[in-house]
């Protein structure tokens, strides 16, 4: 039993899960149990916890894609802008402004929006792997230009649409659970299967640790980089669809604003080295839940809006410290010396 526990605690996802549960626990105590309450209305579950999973869906998807990008030693800061493009395309098609011949078909809108994400990802991957621009600079191009492209698509307007089918992406329920959760399970599940059932994970880690030696060992490094950025772009497009279905329209200025930082943070909290190398997708997904639950927490505690960002930053500092081996060692040392002093007295 003890062995099993210690084996579990070796897992990279162990501490993120503990932290997540701790946040939930603290919340439950502070709210006198309200936080944990899940009610059933019309066969749908409602409650703070359900909210975290629903609203965290976008971030979980982005974090999964971002994990792989970071594992290769790169980064993708364009995901927020890609989300804006994806939302803009889908909404414009549904509204009938873009490609009117499609008659506002929702499936076509979704497919084309995801294709746009794939093209964005390919562009990023092309810049990074073939032109060999540093990833942060390469993806900064789309970070800046992406919102401009989105605005060109919507003619600079905020589009609102009226389509129950499209709303379902964010607001729908299946078996009582919100639909975004199923999207997360499908995408992350497929990705995990691919990473673990093939040698993809090994190759990624190898590229992240030492791209030159990886080439010598026969790995087509640039091909894999291209694939990774493409996956990240496609995932960002899906996240963009969830976001725009949530606000029932496309807002090119605010869709996915600053979310790339949350995604990178989620991966960091998950314990993946941002310099590349060993990675754990599941751990990053839990990291995304932590980031989301912090936001939910500050709302639940009724913190005035002006304090929210600072409080969030403080919580992040605490979490990062709790993940740091060096800090833990220093803490253990400080305790030990205090005990010694007390014993001496």
């Amino acid at each position: 039993m003890k062995n099993k526990l210690s084996k579990w605690s070796q897992n990279q996802a162990f501490w993120p899960i503990v932290i997540f549960l701790l946040i939930i626990l603290i919340n439950s105590i502070m709210t006198g149990g309200d936080f944990l309450k899940i009610t059933m209305v019309d066969g749908h579950f409602y409650g703070r916890i359900i909210d975290i999973f629903r609203n965290g869906g976008k971030l979980m998807i982005l974090a999964a894609g971002m994990t792989m990008v970071l594992a290769t030693g790169g980064t993708d800061i364009s995901v927020g802008s890609v989300m804006a493009i994806s939302g803009a395309i889908a909404c414009s098609i549904i509204e009938g402004n873009l490609l009117p011949s499609l008659n506002g078909s929702v499936p076509a809108a979704i497919v084309l929006a995801i294709c746009a994400g794939i093209i964005c990802g390919l562009w990023n991957g092309f810049l990074v792997s073939k032109i060999q621009i540093q990833p942060i600079v390469a993806t900064m191009i789309l970070l800046v230009a992406g919102r401009g492209i989105a605005q060109l698509i919507t003619n600079g307007k905020i589009i609102t649409i009226n389509s129950d089918a499209y709303y379902f992406i964010n607001g729908g329920y299946i078996l009582g659970l919100p639909f975004p959760l199923y999207i997360v399970i499908f995408l992350v599940g497929t990705l995990l299967l691919f990473v673990h059932r093939t040698a993809f994970g090994l190759f990624l880690e190898s590229i992240g640790c030492n791209p030159k030696a990886s080439k010598f060992a026969g790995i087509k490094v640039s091909g894999y980089l291209l694939a990774i950025y493409t996956i990240s772009g496609a995932f960002a497009a899906v996240a963009g669809l969830i976001e725009s279905a949530g606000i029932k329209g496309a807002d090119c200025n605010n869709a996915g604003l600053n979310i790339e930082m949350d995604a990178i943070l989620a991966v960091a909290i998950g314990g993946t080295n941002l310099m590349g190398g060993r990675f754990n997708i599941l751990s990053s997904v839990v990291g995304a839940l932590i980031v989301q639950s912090i936001t939910t927490t500050v709302y639940a505690l009724g913190v005035p809006a002006a304090y929210i960002r600072v409080l969030k930053a403080l919580l992040i500092i605490v979490i990062c410290l709790s993940q740091s081996d060096r800090f833990k060692q220093a803490l253990a040392k400080a305790f030990a010396s205090r005990k010694r002093r007390e014993a001496a007295v």
Binding site: R197, T198, A199, F200, L202, F203, E205, S206, C209, N210, K212, A213, S214, K215, F216, A217, G218, I219, K220, N273, G277, R278
Partner: protein
């Protein structure tokens, strides 16, 4: 050796990395003032760790260090330097983007009256210091304008100029030419006469006998003994270092070669037909047969590694034809060569070979996995069996296959890379400097493995800048000069002088 006072003593030093790896176990060391003391041992013996403990890079778990009678406990190289311990590491760690003079005086630059940097004095001092080492450099030029050897000399100059009591030289000569080594030894003797204690870590035994007074040997993290250099015959020293009878090991290499059957003289496995690659090799014409160890010799930049790069698909064939088993090929990427059963252990193990943050197991299966392709994943169980097999067969020193490869010593890292390629079951194995920076014991082991592999029918291309090693292992040596083939010697003709004559440009070509 007029001055016999004890300068530095280290006793009972222990240091572990994690639970599994005990790098030092109750090790002792002592250094007199005015002494050059060699610290020897195989890779992984604990030399580097002992140095790191002494210079504050690593904190010791147990033990005592006294310098000049006072206990010291350095926590950083900076602290170590302040108490008078100065170090030059194997890899140059200076700032390539600063000038030579800045590198020498960084952190202790001379000041003008107004508190600014006195550039004039700094540059003049630097020139003077370096000319003492026989170097006449433009001290205002950036460091990276100079070769690694020169950079190494600058690092040594810097270390000797800091008023140190103890100077540690950690393999300073591995990138130096003979003339530069001689210069270095002069300087070392001068510093010794001034009363400095010098710790000299090296793999070159000739140099140990040339310059040191005493020798301390470590093996597997434990102290073996301290001896006067003049009292310890070389064979005995090597046996102490490897913990085995060196004479026997050496004989087994020669036996393997003598027993080795002749190579298959049919169709060559690889045929280079007037192969060129723009700017690196010109009109190379050679055959590599199965069952043969072919040596490739020549000075640095003569095209040795570059030939292997072309065969491995890292560089393209710009002219001529490369044929594998008689079939013309056009490799675009190493994977194309790997699929044709070619393997290549590159020269620079650290940047081109190891994947530092991955386990030994992952490092071993990597090439086999790329050969099989993305979708045919080698299960963890199969990988474990493979890793265990090679750990045993090549005697890789590690507690288990889960250890990260970066925690292994150089020699063991090299064995892991060798295992990576053997796992792919290659027909041609190309080895570029496979024994560089590796201790004599492991060197002989690797040489024996290479000869045995050829006996079993593998074709081996062996590149080494150590001539005696090529002569020991190869049945035929092709000598390159200025990116071109200068000549070849085989079987009985092989000798040091024959090869060197071609290298230097005799008439044999």
């Amino acid at each position: 050796m007029s001055n016999q006072e004890k300068l530095l003593t280290m006793t009972g030093i222990s240091k572990s990395f994690g639970k599994a790896v005990k790098a030092l176990d109750n090790v002792q060391f002592e250094l007199n003032a005015g002494e050059i003391h060699a610290l020897l041992g195989e890779n992984g013996a604990g030399k580097s760790t002992l140095i790191k403990v002494l210079t504050g890079v690593e904190e010791r778990d147990k033990g005592e260090i006294t310098l000049d009678g006072k206990t010291i406990h350095p926590r950083s190289t900076d602290e170590a330097q302040k108490v008078g311990i100065s170090t030059v590491y194997q890899e140059v760690n200076l700032c390539p983007n600063l000038s030579v003079a800045e590198n020498i005086y960084i952190g202790r630059a001379p000041k003008t009256k107004f508190g600014g940097m006195d550039w004039k004095k700094m540059n003049a001092d630097a020139s003077k210091l370096l000319s003492g080492f026989g170097l006449n450099l433009n001290v205002q030029a950036n460091l990276d304008n100079y070769s690694v050897a020169i950079q190494q000399m600058i690092a040594i100059a810097r270390a000797s100029d800091i008023k140190a009591k103890v100077l540690i030289l950690d393999e300073p000569t591995s990138s130096l030419s003979q003339a530069e080594v001689n210069k270095l030894f002069e300087v070392m003797k001068k510093l010794k006469a001034e009363g400095m204690g010098i710790i000299f870590v090296t793999h070159f035994l000739d140099q140990v006998y040339e310059v040191t007074d005493r020798i301390t040997v470590l093996r597997n993290g434990a102290y073996v003994g301290t001896y006067n250099t003049s009292d310890l015959p070389r064979m005995e020293l090597v046996s102490k270092m490897i913990g085995k009878d060196y004479a026997a090991l050496n004989k087994s290499v020669l036996d393997s070669k003598a027993e080795k059957k002749g190579s298959d003289k049919g169709e060559p496995f690889v045929k280079l037909d007037n192969v060129s690659h723009q700017g690196t090799i010109n009109n190379i014409d050679m055959d590599i047969h199965k069952g043969e160890v072919l040596g490739l010799s020549g000075l640095l930049g003569s095209g040795r590694s570059e030939t292997a790069r072309v065969i491995f698909g890292l560089d393209s064939v710009s002219e001529g034809e490369l044929k594998i088993k008689g079939e013309k090929v056009n490799f675009k990427h190493p994977i194309d060569a790997i699929r044709k059963d070619i393997a290549f252990c590159p020269e620079d193990r650290k940047t081109d070979g190891i994947i530092g943050d991955l386990s030994i197991r992952d490092n071993i299966v990597l090439a086999l996995q790329t050969k099989k392709g993305l979708f045919k994943k080698i299960s963890k169980k199969e990988a474990q069996i493979l890793a265990d097999k090679y750990i045993e067969q090549l005697e890789i020193k590690t507690p288990n296959a889960d250890q990260l490869i970066k925690n292994l010593s150089g020699g063991n890292q090299q064995k892991v890379i060798l295992a990576r390629w053997l796992a792919t079951n290659p027909e041609l194995l190309m080895l570029d400097e496979p024994t560089r920076g590796i201790d004599v014991g492991t060197k002989a082991e690797i040489q024996k493995i290479v000869i045995d592999l050829a006996s079993e029918g593998m074709a081996v291309l062996f590149i080494s800048s150590e001539l005696d090693e090529e002569i020991r292992c190869c049945q035929k040596i092709i000598v390159l000069r200025d990116m071109q083939q200068a000549g070849e010697v085989s079987d009985e003709e092989i000798s040091q002088s024959a090869v060197m004559e071609i290298m230097a440009g005799g008439d044999n070509a």
